[in-house]
Amino acid sequence: MSIESILILISISLILGLLTIKWGRTDLLMVASIVLMYWLQPETNLRYLGYWLPGFSLFLILSTWALTAAPALRQNSQTWRTALIILASVILVSTISYADRQHLLGFNNAPSLFRSIPLLIVLIASPSLLFFLKCKIRVKLWAAFSVLIILFILLKTPWLTEQVSSLWRSSAGQNPDLASAIELQWLGFSYIAFRLLHIIRDKQAGRLPEIGLNEFVTYAVFFPSLAAGPIARIDQVLESIKQVKTKFSDSFWMGSQRILVGLFKKYMLADSLAIFALSSQNALQPIGSFGAWILLYAYSLQIYLDFSGYTDIAIGLGLYLGIKLPENFNRPYLKPNLTQFWSNWHMSLTNWFRSYYFNPLSRSLRKKKMPALSILLITQISTMVLVGLWHGITINFALWGLWHGIGLLIQNRWSSWIKPYIPVPDQNTVRHKLFQAFGVFLTFNYVTLGWIWFVLPTPILAREFLLQLIGIR
C-alpha cells in the first residue's frame, strides 16, 4: 500500500473517530469499511474483476451472517435497515466507479449500471434466501465452511488460480492464453475468510455471541485490518464496534504513536532493507557467501519490519476509531526458542490455528490413545505446514511450514531431554542471561534460514541459494 493511501486512511480514520463518538457509530464504520474495501481493491488485468471482488466478499460475509445469526436478529427492522444501507453504499460506489472513467478517485472501473446494479442486488439479497433453506443448521454450517475452504484453495493454488483467471478472461472476452495466477488479487480474502471460518466454528461450538448485521460486516471488513490483518476474534472487538470505550484524546495520542512507529518501520526501515533483501531476482547474484548472508538477514529484518509496521498502522487507525485490535507481534526475534517465537509472531494467525486446528486435533488424537510423541509429531508438523500453506499453496510454503514444524518438534524433545540434567538457573544470573542470548541467537538464525523457502519460489532456487550460503556454489 502506498504512503499516499495510508495518509488518506489516517485522515478518514480521524474524521470517523470524531464523528462516531456521538452518533451513527456502527453504520458509519460499516459504510466506510465497505467503501474503502472497494477503494483499496487493487486493479487487475481481468476486466471488471477489481470491481466485482469486493461484491463477492460482501456476498460471503452476508451469507455467513445469515447462517450464523440468531433467528430473532434476522427478522428485526434493524437488519433490513442495515441491508438497505449496504445496498445503497454499493450502488453509490458503483455509480462513482462507473462515472469516474479517468480513474481519478482510485476505484476500479465498473461495468454499465444497467448490468451491474441488478447483479449487485442479487449478490446482496440472495444470502437472505439461506433463511428459508430447509436443512439442518449443522449441515449448512459445514457447507459454508467447505465453500470457504474450497475458495481459499482455489485462490491460493497458483495453477488453480490461473485456471480461474483463464475462465474469467474467456467470459469477459479477453485472451485466455494470457491468464496468470498473479492477476487474481482479492484484497483481504485470506483475512476475511479466516474471520468467517472462526465465526462458523464458534457457532458450531455454541460460543458465538449475538451479532447484528452491521457489527458483523464491520468486523469482517474493518478497513484498518483488511489488507494485512490482524485476524481479530469477534469477541475481542464486538463491544468497541458498538460503542467507544476510551476518550478520543487518549485514543488519538496512542493511535498517533502507533501509526508513526508503523510508518517509520514500513516506509523507512523495511523499504530501505527491501533494496538489498533476498528475492528471486537476486538470489543467485552474490559474488560470495558473505553477500548471500547479508541478503538473507536483510530479508529477515525486512519481512518483520514490513509486516509489523503495517500492523502498527492498523492498530493505530483502529485506536482512532475506538477499536483496540489485537497485537500481532511482540518482539519475536528476541525470543529464546521457537515455541516462544511462534507465540509472538503473527500472533492472530497462530492463535487462530491453535484454537481451530491444533487444540481440537490434539484432543481428538488423545482420545484415540495415540502415543504422546506421535500426537506431537502429527499436530505440530501439520499445523505448521498449514500455517505455511495459508500464505499460498506451493511446495516452498509447505517446506517453510515443515522447517518450523520440525524445529518445534526438535526444540520440544530437546527441552524435555535436557531438563533433568540442567536445572533451570536463577533468572538474574549471568548463566541464565547467556543461555537466553544463545537461545535468541539460535532461534533467530533458524527462523532466518527458514525464510529461504518462504521468499524463493521454487525448491531448486532455494537449494541453490543454500549452497551459496555455505560457499559451495
Binding site: D250, W253, M254, S272, I275, F276, Q281, N282, Q285, P286, I287, G291, A292, I294, L295, A298
Partner: protein, 373 residues
C-alpha cells in the same frame, strides 16, 4: 505520564525543528551533502558513475548531484600513490565510454586496465572510467573540471559529433540540474557556445530547502542503499536478455539537426568546449579521440553512415576537428572506422566487448607515447 504531555507544545516544537532543518540546515549544507557517502568506506567505490532508470534491477540510479556521483566512484577513494609508481588516466565521454550493455570489466577503462600497461620507466598505468551516458560536451567538461581534484596524469576525452551541436549542450539531465556549475565554467573559460546559460535564472531559495531538495536527498539515500547490492553482486547496470539492434537500414534523410549540406560549420558546433577542456586541464595532457561509429551497409548507406549521421555532416565534422587539432596543437586520434559493423550493439556508438577490445588495442600505443616522449 502521557497525560502530562502538552500536545500543542509538542506540535510547535516539531514545527520549529522541521523549519530549522528545512530552511536553515539544508540550504546551508547545500549540494555538498552529496559528499557524504558510504562508498569507498563501507562499500567499494563504483568503477563508473551510477546511472540507471531501473534501480531495482541495475542496483544503480541516475542522480544529478555531481558530488554524490563522484563520492560513489572509486576515483575519489584512492589518493594518488607516489608518482614514480603509478600514473592515473581518466576517460571522459558518453555512454560508449561509460559502457552501456557492458560489464565493468568490459568497458574501455576495464579492458585497458586488464592490459596491465606500464610506462617505459616502470610506472603502472591505471585507467578510471569517468564517462557518463548522454551526449553533451558540456557535460564532459563539467566532469573534467571536477575530476581535476583527483589528480589525473592524462585525460582521454572520447568524442562523437552528436555531442557537439549547441542544442545538445544543456540537454543532459546532469547538466540541466547543475546550472550553477555550468555558469561557472562559462564565466571561467569564456565559452561562446554556452552564452545562453546567462539567461537561465539561478535556482530560487526554495529550491535549496528541504522541500526543494527532497528528490536530491532521496536519490542520494537510495544510492547509498544500492551500494550494498553493488558490493554484494558487482552489478551496476541492467542487462536485458534482448535488445533492439542499432538500425542498419536508414531513412533517406540527408539533414543533420535540421541543417542541409553546407549549413553546418564550426560556429554551430561546440568546439570551444573542447578548447576549454584543454585550458582547464592546464599542464595535464588531454588526448582527444574521435570514437568509433557504426558504418552501416544497409539501405541508404550511400547517404548516411548510421542513424545519427549523414555522410556529409560527419565528414565535415572530422575535417573541422582535424583542422582544429593542427591550429590548437591538440593530442588527437581518429579511430572512427576501426570497428566492424557486426560489433555494434543497440546504437551506432555502443559496441560489444570485442569491439571495445579493438579500440583498446588501437589506443594503447598513443597513450604510452604520451608518457614516454
Amino acid at each position: 505520564m502521557k497525560d502530562k504531555i502538552n500536545l500543542l507544545r509538542l506540535v510547535i516544537k516539531t514545527a520549529v525543528l522541521v523549519a530549522l532543518i528545512s530552511l536553515v540546515l539544508i540550504p546551508a549544507v547545500g549540494n555538498s551533502i552529496g559528499k557524504l557517502s558510504l562508498y569507498n568506506s563501507l562499500f567499494p567505490g563504483r568503477t563508473r558513475f551510477p546511472y540507471s532508470d531501473v534501480p531495482q534491477k541495475a542496483y544503480s540510479i541516475s542522480l544529478y548531484n555531481l558530488d554524490a556521483n563522484f563520492a560513489s566512484h572509486r576515483v575519489t577513494a584512492e589518493t594518488k600513490p607516489d608518482s614514480d609508481q603509478e600514473v592515473r588516466v581518466f576517460l571522459l565521454g558518453d555512454s560508449s565510454t561509460w559502457g552501456t550493455l557492458l560489464k565493468p570489466d568490459e568497458t574501455l577503462a576495464g579492458q585497458l586496465n586488464a592490459l596491465d600497461l606500464h610506462t617505459t620507466d616502470g610506472k603502472a598505468v591505471r585507467f578510471f572510467n569517468l564517462g557518463y551516458p548522454t551526449l553533451s560536451l558540456t557535460k564532459d567538461l563539467m566532469i573534467l573540471d571536477r575530476a581535476l581534484d583527483y589528480q589525473p596524469d592524462l585525460i582521454i576525452w572520447l568524442l562523437t559529433l552528436e555531442s557537439f551541436p549547441e542544442d545538445k549542450q544543456l540537454s543532459s539531465p546532469l547538466v540541466e540540474n547543475n546550472i550553477p556549475a555550468i555558469t561557472n565554467l562559462y564565466k571561467t573559460y569564456q565559452i561562446p557556445s554556452l552564452t545562453y546559460v546567462e539567461a537561465i535564472q539561478e535556482p530560487s531559495f526554495w529550491k535549496s530547502t528541504l522541500f526543494g531538495q527532497r528528490r536530491n536527498l532521496a536519490d542520494i539515500y537510495r544510492l547509498q542503499l544500492l551500494g550494498a547490492m553493488w558490493a554484494i553482486t558487482g552489478i551496476d547496470q541492467y542487462y536485458p536478455a534482448d535488445y533492439e539492434p542499432a538500425a542498419r537500414d536508414l531513412e533517406a534523410d540527408n539533414t543533420y539537426h535540421g541543417w542541409e549540406q553546407g549549413e553546418m560549420n564550426s560556429n554551430n558546433l561546440a568546439f570551444d568546449v573542447l578548447l576549454a577542456g584543454k585550458e582547464a586541464a592546464g599542464d595535464i595532457p588531454v588526448l582527444y579521440i574521435n570514437e568509433p561509429i557504426l558504418l552501416s551497409s544497409g539501405r541508404n548507406s550511400d547517404l548516411r553512415y548510421n542513424f545519427y549521421y549523414p555522410k556529409w555532416a560527419y565528414d565535415q565534422y572530422r575535417q573541422i576537428l582535424s583542422d582544429l587539432v593542427s591550429t590548437s596543437d591538440l593530442n588527437y586520434l581518429d579511430i572512427w572506422d576501426i570497428i566492424p559493423e557486426a560489433e555494434f550493439t543497440n546504437t551506432a556508438i555502443h559496441t560489444t566487448p570485442a569491439g571495445v577490445h579493438l579500440a583498446a588495442e588501437r589506443i594503447t600505443t598513443p597513450i604510452l607515447d604520451l608518457f614516454n616522449p
